[in-house]
C-alpha cells in the first residue's frame, strides 16, 4: 500500500490526570476505503472523532492527512489540504446554523478558496443534486427540512469541496431507522461515484457492517481488534467484539 490518506499514531487524550479516554490509538485510512470505528458509549469514539477532524489537539500523538500534520506548524500546507478533509456530525439539528440558508451552509467550505460567486453556486447546485435534494433547497433555512434531509444537507456541505476523506461521527444514529438506510446507501453511492474514503464512527455494529471495508473496535480508549471487516466480524477474537456482535438484533428468517 502506498502512503495512506490518513495516518494517526499514538493518540492520547485525557481530561485531567487519571481521566485518560484514549490510550495510544493508531489507525490508517487508504484512499477510497471505509474504516469503521465501532465502540460502545464511553469508549472514546467522540474524542477520537474530534481529533481526526482537526478540532481537538491530542495530548500526545500525531494525525497526518496526506502527510501533513493536522496539529503541526505548517499552517499554509494545512490550509491548502483542509478542504480535502471534511466531516459529518451526529446531530443534524445542531450541525447546521439555524440562521443561515442551506445554500450558504453548503457553500461554507468553498469560502476563502478564491472561487467567485457563480462558481460557488454551481458547486452548491452540484452538491445538492448529489445528495438528491432539489436545487431550490438552497434558498430555505434548515428548519424547513426533516432530520434525514438535514443530514443530506450536511453531507452536501462535506462534499462540496470535493474531499478525499469524510469523517462521519455517528451520522445516522439521530435518524429514524427507515431514514438511516437511505442516508447510508447515499453515502455508499457517493463513495462509488466519487472515490471518497470514509471514517465511519458508530456504536451500531449493524450499520458499520453495512458500510466498512475495515473495522477497528474501540474499547475503553484502546483499539482492541482491527482488520478486514469480514474477518473481524466473522471470527471475533476480542470479548468486546463478541459482545457487540451478540447485542445485534437478529432478524427472524422468513
Amino acid at each position: 500500500m502506498s502512503t495512506p490518506l490518513l495516518e494517526a499514531d499514538g493518540l492520547v487524550r485525557e481530561y485531567g490526570p487519571g481521566r485518560r479516554v484514549l490510550h495510544s490509538v493508531g489507525l490508517t485510512v487508504a484512499a477510497g476505503e471505509t474504516l469503521g470505528i465501532i465502540g460502545g458509549s464511553g469508549s472514546g469514539k467522540s474524542s477520537l472523532a474530534r481529533i481526526l477532524m482537526g478540532l481537538q489537539r491530542p495530548d500526545a500523538g500525531r494525525v497526518r492527512f496526506r502527510g501533513i500534520d493536522l496539529y503541526g506548524a505548517d499552517r499554509a500546507a494545512l490550509r491548502a489540504a483542509r478542504p480535502q478533509l471534511q466531516a459529518v456530525f451526529q446531530d443534524p439539528y445542531g450541525s447546521l446554523d439555524p440562521r443561515q440558508r442551506v445554500g450558504r451552509i453548503v457553500a461554507e467550505p468553498l469560502r476563502g478558496q478564491g472561487l467567485d460567486r457563480a462558481a460557488r453556486d454551481e458547486r452548491v447546485r452540484w452538491a445538492l443534486e448529489a445528495v438528491s435534494l432539489p436545487p431550490d433547497a438552497a434558498t430555505r433555512h434548515p428548519h424547513a427540512f426533516s432530520g434525514g434531509q438535514r443530514q443530506r444537507v450536511a453531507i452536501a456541505r462535506a462534499l462540496v469541496g470535493r474531499p478525499a476523506l469524510v469523517i462521519a461521527d455517528e451520522p445516522v444514529s439521530a435518524l429514524d431507522v427507515s431514514v438511516q438506510a437511505q442516508v447510508l446507501n447515499l453515502m455508499l453511492e457517493l463513495q462509488a461515484r466519487l472515490g471518497l474514503a470514509f471514517v465511519f464512527i458508530s456504536h451500531d455494529l449493524g450499520v458499520v457492517r453495512h458500510m466498512a471495508h475495515r473495522i477497528a473496535v474501540l474499547e475503553a480508549g484502546r483499539i482492541v481488534e482491527a482488520g478486514d471487516a469480514a474477518a473481524v466480524l466473522g471470527s471475533p477474537r476480542h470479548p468486546a467484539t463478541r459482545g457487540l456482535l451478540e447485542a445485534l438484533p437478529t432478524a427472524p428468517s422468513c
Binding site: P83, G94, R99, E108, P109, G112
Partner: protein
C-alpha cells in the same frame, strides 16, 4: 420544530403600545409641535389644561405638551445613541471575552469591575470629569452599558460556540473572526436586542436623572429631567407641570421593560414563564 399554536405575548403588545404612546408624539415634534416649544408668552402663564393647551402652560407661558414632545425626543435620541455606543463597544469586547484562556478571563474581570459601580453614579462621575454636554452625557450613559453588553454577548457566544455548526465551520476551514461574525453574532442577535431594550429603560431613567441634576443636556434644549427640576417647586399650585414629565419617564421605562420581556419570551421560548 413547529409549535402547534403561537404563544401570545401580552407584554410585547403592551410595551409596544405604551412606547408608541410616548414616542410617536416625540417623533412628530421633529416636524410639528402645537406651539413653538420655546415661545414665551407671560400673559398666558400657568394656564390649566384646555383644548388649546392640552397640558396647560408653564410659568413662562410655554406650552407644556410641546415642550414634553421635544424633551422626549431629545432624551430618546441621547438614550438610543448611548445604547448604540454601549453595544458597539461592549459586544466586540464580550466576544473577545469568550476566547479561551487568560485573555478572555482578564477582559471579563474588567467588565465585573465596571459593573461594580452603580450606573447613575458612574454616569455622574464621568460627566463631572468630562464636563456637561450632549456628547459627555451619551458617553456617560453608554459607558455603564458596556459591561452589561459584554456579559450578555459573552454568555451567548459561549453557548453558541460549543454547538456542532461551529465545529462544522472550523472543519470547513473558516477563521475565528469569520466564525464570530457569520455564526455567533447572528445567533445571539435576539438576546442582544432584548438586552438593548431593557438597557434603554435604565438609560431613560439615567438621562432624566442626569438632566435633573443639571449634568445632562445643556440649557436651551428641553429635557424631561430638567423640566422636572425647573418646575418642581410648583407641585402644589400646578401639579401637572411635575406629574406630566414624570409620567413620561415612567411610561418610557415601563414600556421598554415590557417590550424587553415580551421580546425575550417571543424570541427565546425556553425563557418564557410557565403558564
Amino acid at each position: 420544530m413547529r409549535r402547534p399554536a403561537p404563544p401570545r405575548h401580552p407584554s410585547l403588545w403592551a410595551g409596544t403600545l405604551i412606547l408608541a404612546l410616548v414616542l410617536v408624539p416625540a417623533a412628530l415634534s421633529a416636524v410639528w409641535t402645537p406651539f413653538p416649544p420655546g415661545a414665551i408668552d407671560i400673559a398666558h402663564r400657568l394656564l390649566s389644561p384646555s383644548l388649546r393647551h392640552v397640558l396647560g402652560t408653564d410659568p413662562f407661558g410655554r406650552d407644556v405638551a410641546s415642550r414634553l414632545m421635544v424633551a422626549t425626543l431629545n432624551s430618546g435620541l441621547v438614550c438610543a445613541a448611548a445604547i448604540a455606543l454601549g453595544g458597539l463597544v461592549g459586544i466586540p469586547l464580550g466576544l473577545l471575552g469568550a476566547a479561551p484562556g487568560w485573555g478572555g478571563a482578564l477582559v471579563m474581570r474588567i467588565a465585573d469591575l465596571g459593573l461594580a459601580f452603580p450606573p447613575l453614579l458612574t454616569a455622574a462621575m464621568l460627566v463631572a470629569a468630562e464636563g456637561t454636554g450632549i456628547a459627555a452625557e451619551i458617553v456617560a450613559i453608554g459607558a455603564f452599558n458596556v459591561p452589561a453588553f459584554m456579559r450578555i454577548a459573552r454568555g451567548g457566544a459561549l453557548s453558541v460556540l460549543h454547538r456542532d455548526f461551529i465545529a462544522a465551520a472550523r472543519v470547513a476551514g473558516r477563521g475565528r473572526v469569520a466564525i464570530l461574525l457569520e455564526h455567533v453574532l447572528p445567533n445571539i442577535g435576539a438576546i442582544l436586542l432584548v438586552q438593548a431594550t431593557l438597557a434603554l429603560a435604565i438609560a431613560a431613567l439615567s438621562e432624566a436623572g442626569l438632566s435633573y441634576l443639571g449634568l445632562g443636556m445643556p440649557p436651551p434644549l428641553p429635557s424631561l429631567g430638567r423640566i422636572l427640576a425647573d418646575d418642581q417647586a410648583r407641585i402644589f399650585d400646578a401639579p401637572l407641570l411635575v406629574i406630566a414629565p414624570g409620567a413620561v419617564v415612567a411610561l418610557l421605562v415601563l414600556g421598554c421593560n415590557l417590550l424587553g420581556d415580551g421580546l425575550r419570551d417571543r424570541l427565546d421560548p425556553t425563557l418564557a414563564p410557565v403558564r
